[in-house]
Every structure is written in C-alpha cells, then in structure tokens.
C-alpha cells in the first residue's frame, strides 16, 4: 500500500467515524428530549442533581466571577482613565460580566466540575454493567440516569449565572470603591442606570443552553463509554473538552443572534 492510499484510507475512516458519532449523538439528543417530557419522573434523583450541579458549584462560581469582575474593573480603569472616563467602569463591568463573563465562566467551571463527574459516574456504571442491571430491574436507565441530569442542567445553570452576575458586579464594585476610590453611590447609580433586561436575559438563555450542553456531553460520553478504566478516562476527558468547546462556540452564536441587528 502506498502512502497516498494509506492516507486516504485513514481520512475515510475518520470521516465515517465522525458521521457515525454525529448520528449517534443526534439519536441520543432525541431520546433525551423525549424522555424529559414523558413519565415516569424521578423527582428524588432530580433533587440530588439540583444539589450537585447548583448548590455545590456555588463556591467555584463565586470565586471565578468575583475575580473576573475585579479584573475587568481594574483593566477598564487603567485603559480608560486617561480619557477621564471613570464612570465607564461601572457600565463596562456590568455589561461584560452579565453578557459574557458570568455565563462563560459558569459554563466552563461547571463543565469541569459536573460534566467530568457525570461522564465518570455513568461511564463506570456502564463498564461495571450497572446500566444493564437497571434494565433487568425493569427501570429505563435513560430516565433514571440521563433525564434528571439534563433537566437539572438546563434549570440550574441559569440560576448559577444570575448568582455569578451579582457576585461579578460586586467584585467590580469592591475594586472600584476600595482601590480606585470611586464614590459608592455614584457607582451603584450608574450600574443601575445601565442595567437592561437584555443583560439578564442573555445570562438566562446562555445558562440554559450551556447547562444542556454540559449534561448532554457528560451523559453521552459516559453512556457510550467502552473498555474499562481507560474507556471511562477517555469519556471523562471527551466530556470536558467537547462541552468546553461547544460552550465557547454557542456563546458566540447566541451573542451574534441577540446583539447584531
């Protein structure tokens, strides 16, 4: 076999695998959405996911967004102070935190925290036959494992983003007041003046989409994992990498749809 033939074979195989995975993922999405809207529902499991994805992610979300807000305040000040536009700091912090930083940081942090955990847990259940065991006990593994995670992801991420919004703006406020010596009342006033419904809406929409992506990629990679510990490791990596990339891509698409006329 000459080099060209080898290359073409490799290319063809990669292409076929890609199309196969895309089809498999589409079926998975269809099944996930269908199962989310048909009974039975496992409310107890849903509650556990709310706690895992939402409550326990609060510390990382708080830490990342507060520093994001702080650094934006500093940069804006150092960049704009020469033009005497100190009042712009409040507006820039507000817009960048609510529209971009809080949703993206929440998404990426939760992808690392929860997407990986989902893929590892479901993947381990797959390779130790626990998923088959669910079937033999007449329980639909899809409803038991995937559905609660997807519903929780879609509902909880927007809430986390709102929390991130508030903490991020607070971070900007702290830097502006204590380091840059702004007037607190003026700062708060200009923040509220600038605040628009679309800022909050963006966060909610992005949160829901990112939540879906994270849960979907975590569950999909775990569910389809094969071949023992190594397979679970790969599933975990894939879940985090694919969901992070998809989050950034969809972030751009959503911003494009909402803010370009």
């Amino acid at each position: 076999m000459n080099f060209a033939e080898k290359f073409l074979r490799r290319l063809g195989k990669t292409l076929v695998t890609f199309v196969f995975r895309l089809g498999e993922l589409s079926l998975f999405v269809a099944r996930a959405v269908y199962n989310c809207v048909t009974p039975p529902f496992y409310f107890k499991l849903l509650g556990r996911q709310f706690l895992d994805i939402g409550f326990y992610s609060l510390p990382v979300v708080a830490l990342t967004t507060i520093f994001a807000g702080m650094v934006i305040a500093l940069q804006t000040y150092s960049g704009f102070s020469s033009y005497g536009a100190e009042s712009a700091v409040a507006a820039v912090v507000l817009i960048s935190v609510t529209r971009e930083l809080a949703p993206v940081f929440c998404g990426l942090m939760v992808a690392g925290r929860i997407g990986a955990a989902m893929a590892a847990e479901i993947g381990t259940m797959r390779v130790t036959e626990q998923i088959d065991a669910l079937t033999t006990l007449s329980t639909n593994p899809f409803k038991y494992l995937v559905t609660p995670r997807i519903i929780a992801g879609v509902l909880v991420l927007p809430m986390l983003v709102i929390v991130g919004d508030i903490i991020g703006i607070f971070g900007g406020y702290v830097v502006s007041i204590y380091q840059l010596d702004f007037n607190p009342a003026n700062y708060i006033n200009s923040t509220l003046d600038e605040l628009q419904t679309i800022d909050i809406m963006t966060g909610l929409i992005k949160g829901a989409v990112f939540g879906f992506i994270i849960s979907l990629m975590g569950c999909y990679n775990g569910y389809k994992s094969r071949g023992g510990a190594q397979g679970v490791g790969e599933a975990t990596t894939n879940a985090v990498v694919t969901s992070s990339i998809l989050i950034l891509i969809f972030n751009y698409i959503i911003t494009g749809m909402l803010f370009t006329k």
Partner: protein
C-alpha cells in the same frame, strides 16, 4: 411433558462483521435449570442479553411463555422483562445505594412498595442468602467479592422473578465460596420454582446446578443433554471442553 418457558429459534446477532450468534436454537422448560457452557467469547453473554432485551437480535425469535418478545413493542415487552431477574458476573451493584436499597430496588421502583416494607423484605431476602441484617446499611464497596455476589443474588430474587439468569456466578470466587454460591442458586431457584439459565465455563458449577447442559460453540448450540449424558458423550468438542484440554477440535483464537 412440561411446557417451554423459553424457546429460542434461529437467533442471529452480529457486531459489524463479527457474527456472534449464528442461528441459536435452544429451549428451557418451566422450572428447569439450563446451563450454557462454552469458551470465552463464544457469545454466551450476548445470548442472555438478547433474551433480556439489553441487546436486540438481528433475526430469529425468542418466545417467553409462548409469546415472541422480539415482535412486541417496548412497553409490551417490558411485561416479559419484569418476569426476569439476573445475577451479573461482577454483581453490578449500584454503588450509589446502600445494600438494602440495592436488594429492594425492583420492589420500590416497580412494585411501588413503601420503603419501610421494602427494607424489611430486603433484610428477609438477605438472610435467605446468608447475610446478617447489619449488612443492610453498608455500601456495596464495603463488602467482599463473595458477599457482593450474595447481595447480587438477593437483588435478583427479591422481585420473585419467573426466570433468573446467572452470568458466570462463580467467576472470581474461591472453590469453597463457589460451592456456597452454587448451593444458594439451587436453593433460591427451587424455592421460587423459577426457571434458570446460567452461563459459565466453570464445569464444577455447571455439574452442580444444571438439569440440562448446552454447549455453545462458534455461535451455535452444538450439543445438549443432561450431566450424565455429557459424561458419556462422544462429541469431541464437549469432551475437550470438560477435560479442559488444549488438544482437540476447538482451536483457541489468540
């Protein structure tokens, strides 16, 4: 003449180009214990996964109580599946749940039994497989391999299934523990009056729990009969397998 509980005809299943089941025909009578023997990778696991609806066969029929479940839609087939229980090779206990929640899983999720009642029932079944009530609140990871197998067995029989599958029930256990598990299998199957289908390559276990033995080779059932018939058979494949010899018609694919 007892009726057939499971009746499999011409079952085919392939993964890509690899044909795993190549026209399997086998019957299990009501209350009978069939053991399917065969080397690793001969499709034993695939066979029972097809019967339980975990895998979908490419063609052929699987009749449970005379109804072909491959022709039913998912909801109808679900009724047949709920008559089945299974002990997995690695026990496959849910590690996010405690021991008793594992045993009571089918009772709580499907038979909608109240948790308190289900726990009492789980403890009763655990006793039946020789485990003390104290084990009930432990997590599966705190148990030894043999104990996990017992819990797996308890979970399989807790819903009082009519058909129980055993996937390599003695693999990974020492000979004495294997024998204990064999006894428990016989006891629980007879106790429930259930039909049992076991796959194994442990001949000591097969001899002990089988009413009938069938040998699967290259995706086909090549021989079946009782244990006595097995010892007398001239079938070179069966003879080689029960002797555990590397010399004979069965070539080991490396």
């Amino acid at each position: 003449m007892k009726e057939n509980k499971i009746e499999i005809r011409n079952l085919y299943k392939a993964f890509g180009k690899k044909v795993v089941l190549d026209g399997v025909d086998v019957d299990v009578k009501k209350g009978e214990s069939l053991v399917v023997i065969g080397g690793s990778g001969t499709g034993k696991s695939v066979l029972i996964k097809c019967i339980q609806g975990i895998l979908t066969p490419d063609s052929g029929s699987i009749k449970i109580d005379g109804v072909d479940i491959t022709q039913l839609d998912r909801d109808e087939a679900e009724k047949s599946y709920s008559k089945m229980g299974m002990l997995f090779q690695g026990a496959a206990l849910f590690d996010s749940l405690s021991v008793w929640e594992n045993v009571a899983f089918g009772l709580i999720e499907n038979q909608k039994m109240p948790r308190k009642e289900a726990k009492a029932e789980a403890i009763r079944v655990l006793r039946q497989v020789g485990l003390a009530a104290e084990v009930a609140d432990l997590s599966p990871s705190e148990l030894s391999g043999g104990m996990q197998k017992r819990v797996g067995l308890a979970r399989a029989i807790a819903t009082r299934p009519e058909i129980i599958f055993f996937d390599e029930p003695t693999t990974g256990l020492d000979p004495i523990m294997s024998d204990v598990i064999n006894d428990l299998i016989i006891e629980s199957v007879k106790g429930l009056g259930a039909t049992a289908l076991t796959i194994t390559h442990d001949m000591a276990s097969a001899r002990k729990i089988a009413d009938k033995i069938a040998m699967l080779y290259k995706g086909k059932i090549i021989w079946q009969g009782t244990v006595k018939e097995m010892d007398k058979t001239d079938n070179p494949y069966v003879k080689q397998f029960i002797k555990g010899s590397s010399q004979g018609p069965i070539s080991v694919e490396v």
